[in-house]
């Protein structure tokens, strides 16, 4: 059977299975999970304590196919409570997965996912968001090819982390906005763990209702090759091109994101793992090249990653060093409660992008509210984190993390002092 015919057959079988539901009669599972997260902070203006409580019910129907293939339908709905938004009923997940073995010949498989589920790029720095769409992966020994398309406009605003344009940012805490920003996202990836080439694009679907329309495209490489039995190298580089349209004026957005680091694992040394990583995202840099003026702009990811616990600026005009170490002191203890305790420590050192200072003599403004406009300081501050994660039982988990951010007083306005944040999470299943 030729590949095109195979693909048509796969899509047809998947669609029929999804519609009828009868194919899932053989195996099923369901459950309820309860999650809570409380964040306490000291020295902040507008946030002193924030708690989120979530109760979720999930169910799964599953059927095995020939040669290791399978059909799976998983759904999860939840109720979430916060003091600001007491009633958030959400559909967290509605995912059909079809795995079709040997679809493109022996030693291959095709995986089809459709519905509402998590879409992410290989770095998780550009895209990491639950959306509604379709993903098809062609799996071969040693590498895979993936195509995905998704829409973010049906995700509730409090659940959406899609923040690209000025309009998106204005809606972050706007309770009158029901759904998150409307974006169409396309993704393609080919490669393996050691080297992958990925392309992403997002298209702003606000139309005339937006004051700023932003479309962006990304092309990059990413990988984690193994250097020695316990060492891996992390690298990624992404070039981004985009268009920002305000009224009749369109500005081209040229920006870049890069990262480089190492990971170390030693299972025999109390399951130790350590990492050191540098991440760089461009800031506004005017450049004159061959009498032509253009500029590098602030990098704009599709979703904003959470960088630090106590200090998490936007991923733009930023260079930060991230080091961390964790271990499991009772890793070989027969008690799973003791074995699954993991203390961790880490540090993040933040700088503004040094390139604008080198090129134009002035550093670009980082996107935080209280930056000292007259300061040329590149160093922004250091965050120190420590915590413990524990899976006491298979159905009970706890996480306690604390972070201290020590700012560079000359980079910020004078009223910023040392800040403390404590985050406590508990998770139970039944």
């Amino acid at each position: 059977m030729n590949p095109l015919k195979s693909m048509v057959l796969i899509v047809a079988v998947a669609g029929l299975s999804l519609i009828t539901g009868s194919a899932f009669a053989l195996q099923g599972d369901f459950g309820v999970t309860l999650d809570t997260s409380t964040m306490l902070s000291s020295g902040v203006v507008d946030t002193s304590a924030e708690s989120v409580y979530k109760a979720a019910a999930w169910g799964e129907l599953f059927q095995n196919l020939a040669k290791g293939g399978s059909l799976d339908l998983t759904a999860q709905g939840s109720y979430r409570y916060t003091a600001e938004r007491p009633y958030i009923f959400d559909l967290d997940l509605l995912r059909f997965t079809g795995l079709f073995s040997a679809a493109l010949g022996e030693g291959t498989a095709v995986e089809l996912k459709a519905g509402r589920f998590n879409f992410s790029d290989a770095t998780k720095l550009i895209l990491d968001q639950t959306m509604d769409g379709l993903q098809i992966s062609l799996l071969f020994s040693g590498f895979q090819v993936r195509f995905a398309g998704a829409y973010s406009g049906f995700v509730l605003n409090p659940s959406s982390n899609v923040r690209i344009s000025a309009d998106d940012w204005l809606e972050v805490n706007d309770n009158s906005v029901f759904f998150g920003p409307k974006r169409l996202v396309a993704q393609a990836m080919v490669g393996s763990d050691s080297f992958a080439l990925q392309a992403l694009a997002q298209f702003d679907m606000r139309g005339d209702s937006g004051t700023e329309i932003v479309n962006t495209q990304y092309l990059g490489i990413v990988g984690t090759p193994r250097l020695s039995p316990n060492f891996y190298m992390d690298y990624n580089f992404t070039a981004s091109y985009g268009q920002s349209t305000i009224g009749n004026k369109t500005t081209n957005l040229i920006s870049a994101l890069g990262g480089f680091g190492f990971r170390f694992y030693a299972e025999n040394l109390a399951a130790s793992q350590a990492h050191a990583r540098v991440t760089y995202a461009t800031g506004f840099t005017p450049i004159v090249l061959l009498l032509n003026n253009f500029s590098l702009e602030d990098f704009r990811p599709i979703t904003q990653p959470t960088i630090g616990l106590a200090f998490s600026p936007r991923l733009a005009n930023l260079l930060y060093v991230d080091v961390g170490y964790s271990f499991r002191p009772f890793f070989k203890n027969p008690s799973s409660s003791l074995s699954n305790i993991e203390p961790l420590v880490g540090a993040l050192v933040f700088f503004r992008d040094p390139v604008p200072l080198l090129v134009s003599g002035t550093p670009a403004d980082i996107l935080v509210n209280d930056l000292n406009p007259s300061s040329n300081a590149l160093y922004l501050g250091t965050e120190i984190d420590a915590g413990v994660m524990a899976r006491i039982f298979s159905d009970l988990g706890l996480s306690v993390k604390g972070g201290v951010f020590v700012p560079n007083s000359s980079a910020f306005t004078s009223n910023r002092g040392i800040g403390f944040v404590l985050k406590i999470e508990a998770s139970a299943a039944m």
Binding site: V45, T47, L99, G107, F117, L139, G142, A390, S427
Partner: protein, 221 residues
């Protein structure tokens, strides 16, 4: 006379070749601990295993709770852990290649695969969800995951897609058609996930519950 010597040499070479082609190594219990039983091919009865006992090809070995055994397959050593069922489908040497085919429906074994001088190894262990094909010398598996101690093991998912798992690494069959390995699998092995949601629903796909705290803005006083 010369003719007879020539015929004798030809016959000797033929016999040697036949022996070489059909050579079948022996499988022997080196040690037995606790309850270990063997079911010979074509028989229903389970017999208690003892150290020094030879294991016929296509026999099935079963270890009970707290039981275990060490098997010698030529130069290769298999450590069979408790609550394991293992069948030896093939152990032969042909054209300087020692072929070993094992089937493990359930349980865990550690394999230290060695070659005798002048031969290479083709060692395969199949479970209901994976196949481990050895190019190196040492690994431990429960069928769903595999830890490698020496060199490289090719780890195939049930759908036939393979990854190479190097010394110190772990391969695992999980959701999806591809077995996983490399740094991300080691992250999963060494790290503790405190989130209990089996679906990873609403979060980032790693089990985080997705509490809607995408961006936290903290302003200092």
């Amino acid at each position: 006379m010369m003719k007879r010597i020539g015929i004798a040499i030809i016959i000797a070479l033929f016999v040697l070749a036949v022996v070489q082609v059909g050579a079948q190594s022996r499988v022997v219990f080196r040690t037995v601990t606790g309850k270990v039983e063997i079911q010979n091919p074509g028989e229903q009865a389970w017999l208690p295993a003892t150290a020094g006992m030879e294991v016929p090809i296509r026999a099935t070995i079963s270890t009970g709770f707290g039981g275990g055994a060490i098997l010698e397959l030529g130069a290769t050593t298999l450590t069979v852990r408790q609550l394991t069922r293992l069948r030896i489908d093939e152990l032969s040497t042909q054209n300087k290649v020692t072929r070993t085919n094992l089937v493990m429906p359930v349980g865990r074994i550690r394999a230290d695969v060695k070659s005798t001088a002048g031969t290479s190894t083709d060692f395969k262990l199949r479970s209901p969800v994976s196949t481990a094909a050895v190019r190196g010398t040492g690994f431990e598996t429960d069928g769903a995951s595999l830890s490698v101690f020496e060199s490289v093991v090719a780890f195939l998912s049930e759908s036939g897609i393979s990854i190479n798992v190097g010394a110190g690494e772990t391969g695992a069959t999980g959701d999806g058609g591809s077995p996983s390995g490399g740094a991300n699998q080691r992250d999963a092995n060494t790290g503790v996930v405190p989130y209990t949601s089996p679906t990873g629903g609403g979060g980032n796909g790693n089990g985080e519950p997705g509490l809607g705290i995408g961006t936290i803005t903290v302003h200092w006083n």
